[in-house]
Symmetry: C2
Amino acid sequence: MDEPVSEQWGTPEGQAMLQLLWDPPPPPTRGPKQRLTLDQVVVGAMEVATELGVDELSMRKVAQHLGVGAMSLYTYVPGKDELFELMIDRAYADRALPDRALPWRAQVEFHAHEAWRMYQEHRWLIRSNLWRMPLGPHVLDAQEDLYRAVLLTGLPETTVVRVAGLVESHVFGAARAAVTDTSVASRTGMTTDDYWESRAGFWGTYFSTERFPTMTRIWERGGFDDDCPEQAWEFGLALLLDGVERLVQAGGAAARS
Amino acid sequence: MDEPVSEQWGTPEGQAMLQLLWDPPPPPTRGPKQRLTLDQVVVGAMEVATELGVDELSMRKVAQHLGVGAMSLYTYVPGKDELFELMIDRAYADRALPDRALPWRAQVEFHAHEAWRMYQEHRWLIRSNLWRMPLGPHVLDAQEDLYRAVLLTGLPETTVVRVAGLVESHVFGAARAAVTDTSVASRTGMTTDDYWESRAGFWGTYFSTERFPTMTRIWERGGFDDDCPEQAWEFGLALLLDGVERLVQAGGAAARS
DNA sequence: AGATAACGCAGTACGCCGTACGGAATGCGG
DNA sequence: CCGCATTCCGTACGGCGTACTGCGTTATCT
């Protein structure tokens, strides 16, 4: 898992990966029939990842989950990194696209919600030390449509790209925080209160109210008791899109230059 | 590296981790002198991570880098996860804090710039599949001061927490994108142009201008030729803080309620 | 129909990884 | 000076990704 995303599309490996993403070759005529399909392998890997966590994802476990030998997977996929790229693209495949009749803001919000839902459903996406999306068809479909929606603002192209990145970044960050909380809660089987309770040792032993007066104050006033993570991230999205809206209004004249 | 951040602070391991972060025990009097210090181990690990990349970070390599046996590291550190938490906290140690005489916006911008600088200097921070900051002293110092700066706005505590998270998220996302680009460029030894050149096979073979009209349009108008990543992320930060400023102005009366 | 070539499948093995264990060397407290 | 706590490290175990190889299967060719 050194390079979850191939860096060299020009190389033969890169070409193979692209072909796998865009144009999976039909099973050859000669030889025994394949016992699995590429899709089954990818979906099986996603199931293992959701069930066991991305850290426990291994070729051997995926193979076992699918009822084949470990090395048989390499008939379908060049390696683990490539399988992971296929998993990511597959996760994007389920994303719905907004109604194009809606105003741009509603469309962007729809995209953000879909991304949020995707991260919730496939928590391993968050934990993946992924640093560049694979150039897969479904990933690009989502990107394309987000750009299309943002472009409806009429903002200059450079700004559109930046705004789209901003939205993606925000959803990712919020999802990371939320998934963390729920994951900790579910894995340890403790409520959020219990969780903080278990940290009591820290607060008592090392946390100094003199060294951290602001945090203490925020804590005392309940600033950390965030009711619902949904509200928190939608607040951020709203703030962000308000800014974009202002940009649109302000640039209405300037954009012409 | 299953759980980069211990989930159970109540457990003995959690306590040991906290003690390591906050109150590293002095070397015992009995027995042979330690050949290293905890700090040397942590810094050595950071050097290995920056040099070889976080994926290549291993206990054996850190030990070799420090000129000791692999298992000797376990005298200083309970395990790799704990070492990694110490690395993170150590990275935060170098962050400067803003001048408190400055207006809140300048202070928050200073924080964002320091975070950006930190991510640039320690690129492994980006690639770490880190999902919760360790409760280390330096991490908390930075958090505390950011909260303090945001609290100067006079916004309600819940909003302060959200805004701080928004800023952190944005810098992280922008740093991730920037580090990706420069890292690809430096590792493969190709310029950005060469990089895109090498992908020509993709654009020619699979990219369809009919399927991706918006991306094509943005590309043609140079929307993706982002001159400088610094400008891009500062644009986002400005947009974000503009929103906060509006919130402050609007809430000037409402905050009293 | 039989031979052949292409191909799927899986067992074994290699070199990594994190780290548990135990023994040798070391230097302070009694 | 002795005893023992402690450091250091060689060995080893289980798990990982995957290269290689041999075997069995099956569509095509003669």
